[in-house]
């Protein structure tokens, strides 16, 4: 070793530790990138799985319904025509009123009937129409409870707490709709403290936000920003003042729609507190449901609905009714079969994905019948027949570019050409399938070409060598060997088409379709929707219950795509050949 060589070794050695640290850092970036991708995947699938949980089961209400002749059979001849004119919704309404006989006021009745959707009457009608002997008797009719009550009973949207009453209370009427609850001990003290605490926490948050806004108003550069910020500040300040008044100690606490609801349950009756005295021992209340029961009671329950009424869609009264029905054993939580056996509906509890699944199947049939033969034909032509000339070059470039055209542009093509020029039906699986076929075509072509190219030339030469024509060599020898690759590529392309939404929005498959299309030739031209579009429609649904159903529909779609891919993998394994 010479002197300079020794120096160099020293120099290299000095930097070694730093370089290895850089190496580890770099590798950590790689691991982090991969972990991030994995984390996203887990988050995505996990959050959807969690969100879908409330849609898996559904609460169903079973009521004894009196099929009174005058309502069910207006003409009285038990003919189908007569039965179909009956007012079955009234029958269900009567059955519900039977459960809560004290409800009399119109507004209150409307609230009560809000516990289910009138669409259910059609099912009762069908049942009676198919068995007219039921008229005059009583039937046990089971139907889904409204989505809001369902979510409440599942504990998704509403948090509540039920405690036994600490000490006896005396209930007395103040006037027709105001009641007074008084006890020897401060039974409501806990609620009082708790609510005030919550209010002051909220006030503190508001105060911070108001101060921020004031600060921003002062720091604002231009007039508009300053004005906007001070408006925000004023709004927040007003809210804050209101809260402060509510939260003042040593005062009676007013309970309102923005605070939690405090209910007192006495036997069948439920009272809602409107205010609590400063001592925590007395309160004023309204009667929500049940019989009038003035006097002293020792067996009562303090029922706190922690989610304030403004933050939920179900009223206090409906909560009380739903709970009462549930306590009477009339409500049962079971597997949500409706999700899989019905088409779309405006009522979340009656909405299902069956229509969309059938629409997807019909659309995919068209896509498959068009994209696969044409795509494979093109691939065979380009790989086996095409002379090297301008035209084939053009086709090649063209296919590569088509593969990168955004899917929405195919939708525009479908709208302009298929619908407006050819007059094909809007919203139909036929049109949708054709648009998706054009979109899938490049994928099928590219993967089929790769599969054909992977067949060794020796196979072709051997076939030609024994006297087969070119076409025979291709169709009898090359194509069968390339088949697994072609099938895999085609299925992957179809799976892509199955998940595609945007082009279908363009051709009107975004319509609300309450009837599942027929699984037959007629279905191809009926208006339909497909799974991804159904997901899109539901995701913008206002009702909270659609959120879970959207997530469940996503799981169904993913399962469909997964089975597609499983078929592809199976085919690849089954027919894989090595040479």
């Amino acid at each position: 070793m010479t002197e300079p060589q020794r120096d160099i070794r020293q120099a290299v050695r000095r930097r070694l530790a730093r370089r290895h640290r850089a190496e580890r850092r770099f590798q950590a970036y790689g691991v982090a990138a991969l972990a991030a991708a994995g984390l996203f995947l887990v988050l995505l699938l996990g959050s959807i799985a969690i969100q879908s949980a409330p849609a898996i089961t559904q609460h169903k209400l079973t009521l004894p319904v009196e099929i009174t002749a005058e309502l069910a059979d207006p003409r009285g001849d038990l003919s189908e025509a007569s039965l179909r004119r009956g007012s079955y919704n009234t029958l269900i309404q009567n059955a519900l009123r039977e459960q809560f006989p004290t409800v009399a006021e119109r507004a209150e009745l409307r609230e009560l009937f809000g516990l289910y959707s009138g669409v259910n009457a059609a099912r009762l009608l069908n049942r009676v129409a198919s068995a007219p002997e039921l008229v005059g008797g009583r039937v046990e009719f089971t139907f889904p409870i409204s989505d809001d009550a369902d979510l409440y009973l599942k504990g998704v949207t509403v948090r509540e707490r039920i405690q036994p009453g600490l000490a006896p209370i005396a209930i007395s009427a103040e006037d027709t709709d105001r009641w007074r609850l008084v006890s020897d001990t401060p039974v409501f003290a806990e609620i009082l403290v708790e609510t005030r605490q919550a209010l002051s926490v909220e006030a503190a948050g508001l105060e911070r936000r108001r101060d921020d806004a004031v600060e921003r108003a002062e720091a604002a550069r231009d007039e508009d920003a300053r004005r906007a910020a001070s408006a925000t500040a004023e709004r927040l300040d007003a809210q804050l003042q209101r809260l402060r008044i509510q939260a003042q100690p040593d005062q009676a606490l007013q309970l309102g729609p923005t605070t939690k609801s405090v209910l007192v349950q006495v036997g069948d009756g439920v009272y809602r507190l409107t205010g609590i005295g400063a001592d925590g021992a007395s309160a004023s209340a309204q009667r929500l449901i049940g019989e009038v029961s003035a006097g002293a009671v020792s067996d009562w329950r303090l029922w706190t609905v922690l989610t304030p009424p403004t933050a939920r869609l179900i009223s206090d009264r409906q909560i009380a009714w739903a709970r009462a029905l549930s306590d009477r054993g009339l409500v049962e939580n079971g597997f949500n079969t409706i999700l899989f056996t019905r088409a779309d509906s405006r009522e979340p509890e009656l909405a299902g994905v069956l229509g969309a699944i059938i629409g997807s199947v019909l659309t995919m049939v068209i896509t498959m019948l068009l994209a696969v033969p044409v795509g494979v034909g093109t691939a065979i032509y380009l790989e086996e027949y095409a002379p090297k000339n301008r035209l084939t070059d053009l086709i090649e470039v063209n296919i590569n570019n088509l593969a990168a055209v955004p899917s929405i542009v195919f939708g525009l093509l479908g709208l302009a050409v298929f619908i407006n020029l050819f007059g094909m039906p809007r919203s139909a699986p036929l049109t949708g399938g054709m648009v998706l076929a054009l979109m899938t075509l490049p994928t099928v072509i590219i993967s089929s070409r790769a599969a054909l190219r992977a067949v060794p030339p020796s196979i072709r030469e051997a076939a030609l060598g024994v006297g087969a024509s070119h076409t025979q060599a291709v169709f009898h020898h090359v194509l069968p060997m390339a088949m697994p690759g072609i099938l895999t590529g085609s299925i992957i392309g179809l799976a892509q088409a199955l998940g595609e939404t945007a082009p279908l929005l363009m051709i009107g498959m975004v319509a609300f379709i309450a009837d599942a299309p027929a699984l037959g030739f007629g279905g191809f031209t009926d208006a339909a929707t497909v799974m991804p579009v159904q997901i899109f429609l539901w995701s913008s649904g206002a009702e909270r219950a659609f959120e879970a159903r959207t997530a469940a529909a996503i799981l169904v779609l993913l399962a469909m795509m997964l089975s597609f891919n499983a078929v592809a993998i199976y085919l690849r394994r089954r027919f894989e050949r090595r040479w």
Partner: protein
């Protein structure tokens, strides 16, 4: 048949690797390499002299390149490769866990079969080693290293005025001299050459051979070659590999004029290869 032949030879001949004039630079003892299940080289023991050119010859797939790659632990980069046995440079074990391959490879330069200049300028190609190892404190020092390396590689006159052009713009022979310049820029002790001339035309080959002969004065050079004539022209020592085994090793003259092993004889007379 082959089997019996081999066992016979194994019993008859024990090779005492000879060093020509003094210092031993690289010594290998019972080196074995497995690629997965394939036993690529078997029990190779040899002492390689400093400041001399040692040629490794033998038919394709006999393990010469694998042996070469043991010396700078390039086999580490292949997932399935396993190396056993001892390789020392100046008496220091190479295969030891504690030896950093980075440090080792700074000491052992390598030139490949196909010229592989990096997709960078000529200057940056030569400066690559000094840069990553931090050998130059100032740009001027780096310029100096690049210039001397290119001079040593006999390329300076040809590229002095176009150092900023990409290395790939040079001709094949020039590219190979560039990779030699790149290797000697970090002043290594050993230079490994894996068929450095096989992708070149005869004129370029002659220039490289001249260069190798010049470099011999400062470095221990180990060269794999397919051409027996080249081995005879350039090297002082020659090792003949066959089926993963070192069959014969000695001064080039002896190997070519008076081989002791029948297989060596057959190979150099062109009966197989």
């Amino acid at each position: 048949m082959v089997d019996t032949l081999e066992t016979q030879h194994a019993e008859k001949t024990v090779y005492h690797p000879v060093s020509q004039d003094g210092a031993i630079k690289v010594a290998t003892r019972a080196v074995n390499v497995l690629y997965g299940d394939k036993h690529a080289i078997i029990d190779v023991t040899a002492d390689i002299p400093d400041r001399a050119v040692t040629s490794l010859i033998g038919p394709s797939g006999c393990g010469k390149s694998t042996y070469l790659r043991c010396i700078n632990r390039m086999n580490d980069t292949i997932d399935t490769a396993r190396v056993a046995g001892s390789v020392t440079i100046d008496g220091e074990e190479v295969n030891d866990r504690s030896v950093d391959p980075v440090l080792l490879r700074a000491r052992v330069g390598m030139v490949f079969q196909k010229p592989n200049p990096f997709p960078k300028s000529i200057y940056e190609n030569v400066a690559y080693g000094p840069r990553i190892h931090g050998l130059a404190a100032t740009p001027d020092e780096l310029d100096e290293i690049v210039r001397t390396s290119l001079e040593k590689a006999g390329l300076w006159d040809e590229v002095a005025d176009r150092l900023a052009q990409p290395g790939t713009s040079l001709s094949g022979g020039q590219q190979q001299r560039l990779t030699i310049a790149r290797a000697i820029a970090v002043n290594p002790e050993v230079i490994l050459m894996d068929e450095p001339c096989s992708a070149l035309d005869p004129i370029a080959t002659a220039r490289i051979e001249e260069l190798i002969d010049e470099l011999r004065e400062n470095y221990a050079i180990i060269m794999v070659t397919h051409s027996m004539a080249q081995a005879a022209r350039v090297s002082q020592m020659t090792a003949f590999f066959h089926l993963g085994k070192l069959v014969e090793y000695g001064p080039t003259e002896e190997i070519f004029t008076n081989p002791r092993d029948q297989r060596t004889q057959d190979y150099i007379t062109g009966r197989f290869g």
